[in-house]
Amino acid sequence: MSTFYFIAFLSIFFSILVISAKNPVHSILYLVLTFFTFTIHYILLNAQFLAVVNFIVYMGAILVLFLYTLMLINLNKEAEPVKPFMVKIAAVFGGGILAVALVSSLKLLGVSDPVVLKNPDLGLVKNLGKVLFNEFLLPFEISSVLLLSAMVGAVLLATKEKETKATF
């Protein structure tokens, strides 16, 4: 249990650093660390497959692309758009309302019964595959079609401008 609290503390600590870091590249690197703590959480929950997939997909691919994009765009102090005063006021107001909503919903929250898994090894690849392809086959297939359509859409958007002719 103490491991959990330590890792949970690290997750929150790094995610606060993500939004408080001045440099966007540093933010991304803190986000990498945050996702790494998530991986440890999954391992603590005995979900090895999810842990490794989180590691590969989020840390190894998505955040690399984030970092890649941030390195390409020039983010200087001068390039930063200055927001008008009213917009800042509105943002503070909106954030405050969101905080009130969150706190009030937390107050109403009842303590739920802990979910007891019938099979504690559910997170292992073999069991997870069986569950995914039997019980949850339809949602699984639908989500894969959704991802495919997103991919096709992205390709379509990228190929529309024939004149500019991107090299890759």
Binding site: V53, A61, Y68, F168
Partner: protein
């Protein structure tokens, strides 16, 4: 876990660590000797007999050089870059089965640090993490050439990871397990049930795709565009000097060693060798198995070097074309073909 088991594990980890470092060190020597052979030169021959002490001299030089951190560099990340590169290169060796279990005095000693049941995915994760070292180093240098090298490394790594993953999926369909120890065990001997037992004969196209991707992931020529000196000076390590540069160069050789070990385990039977059933002493088989694995690894390392000194570097758009338009469709076709074959012939 008993204390003695823990000690054995720690000893095994240290031995594997030292072996990877020594192999990486002597790979630099081998690279120079092989390059010399290909170009009809002599190569390093001054330090010790046949220049055998050359890597030590190089290492000593690296340590003693002046260390420079550019004024405008982000100094913390500038140090983190090479450290990450060498770290991710070293941790891949944890799941590779180096041999069958040894039995000494009634105690079974597994020659694999840990046999987690998602071993292949672990290797894959470590590989995908490897690019951070290059990216962070290249960005922190605050140099345009370094940044371009880092960006190239990132996009190359991401692109080739996809086809590498897809070629592994076809292999998983054949083996039915993600554990490297299990995969090595399945390829016992050389001939079983009327066919070769090594996976390379079951997945020839998959192996070809995997080795091409391995070249790209380790940034070896002909895919060494992140450090392409014809246009980027030194690529991501332009600003580096002393042992930090040494770490980057060293990480490349360790990566080469680890990926050779992975290829040998996944496709070339790992520690198995022909006629291993004729030897009755299990310990002798285990030791010969380790020797066989290392022979396979050295052949792969030689192949890496052979390609480097034979094939010229790709242009960047050719690299992306090859990755996205050739390797990925081939990998998907390989999965489909494997599926059809498994449905109708087994």
């Amino acid at each position: 876990m008993e204390l003695i088991d823990l000690l054995i594990k720690i000893a095994l980890i240290i031995v594997i660590f030292v072996i990877s470092l020594v192999v990486a060190m002597y790979s630099t020597y081998a690279e120079r000797k092989i390059a010399a052979f290909f170009q009809d030169r002599v190569g390093p021959n001054r330090a010790g007999p046949w220049g055998i002490l050359q890597p030590l001299a190089d290492g000593g030089k690296m340590f003693l050089k002046e260390e420079i951190i550019p004024t405008n560099a982000t100094s913390f990340l500038f140090i983190v870059g090479p450290s990450l590169a060498i770290l991710t290169a070293c941790i891949g060796s944890a799941v590779i089965p180096w041999g069958q279990n040894l039995e000494i005095g009634g105690r079974v000693i597994p020659l694999q640090v840990t046999d987690i049941n998602v071993g292949i995915l672990y290797i894959f994760g470590v590989v995908s993490l490897g690019v951070y070292g290059i990216m962070i180093g290249g960005w922190a240098s605050n140099n345009k050439y370094s940044l371009l090298g880092a960006i190239r490394a990132a996009s190359q790594n991401i692109s080739y990871e996809i086809s590498m993953g897809l070629s592994i999926i076809a292999l998983l369909m054949v083996t039915g397990t993600l554990s490297l120890g299990e995969i090595a065990k399945q390829q016992h001997g050389f001939w079983a049930d009327g066919y070769f037992s090594w996976n390379v004969f079951k997945q020839p196209l998959g192996f070809l795709l995997f080795i091409v991707c391995a070249f790209a992931e380790t940034n070896r020529s002909p895919f060494d565009l992140p450090e392409c000196e014809t246009e980027l000076v030194g690529g991501y390590h332009t600003e580096y000097s002393s042992m930090k540069l040494g770490f980057y160069l060293f990480a490349e050789y360790i990566n080469m060693f680890i990926s050779s070990a992975v290829m040998a385990t996944l496709y070339f039977g790992g520690y198995n060798f022909p006629f291993m059933d004729l030897i009755h002493s299990p310990n002798l088989v285990a030791i010969l198995g380790v020797v066989a694995l290392f022979i396979k690894i050295f052949m792969f390392i030689f192949f890496f070097m052979w390609v480097r000194w034979t094939i010229p570097r790709f242009r960047y758009d050719q690299l992306m074309d090859l990755g996205w338009k050739t390797l990925i469709p081939l990998a998907i076709a390989n999965i489909v073909l494997t599926g059809i074959f498994m449905t109708f012939f087994k």
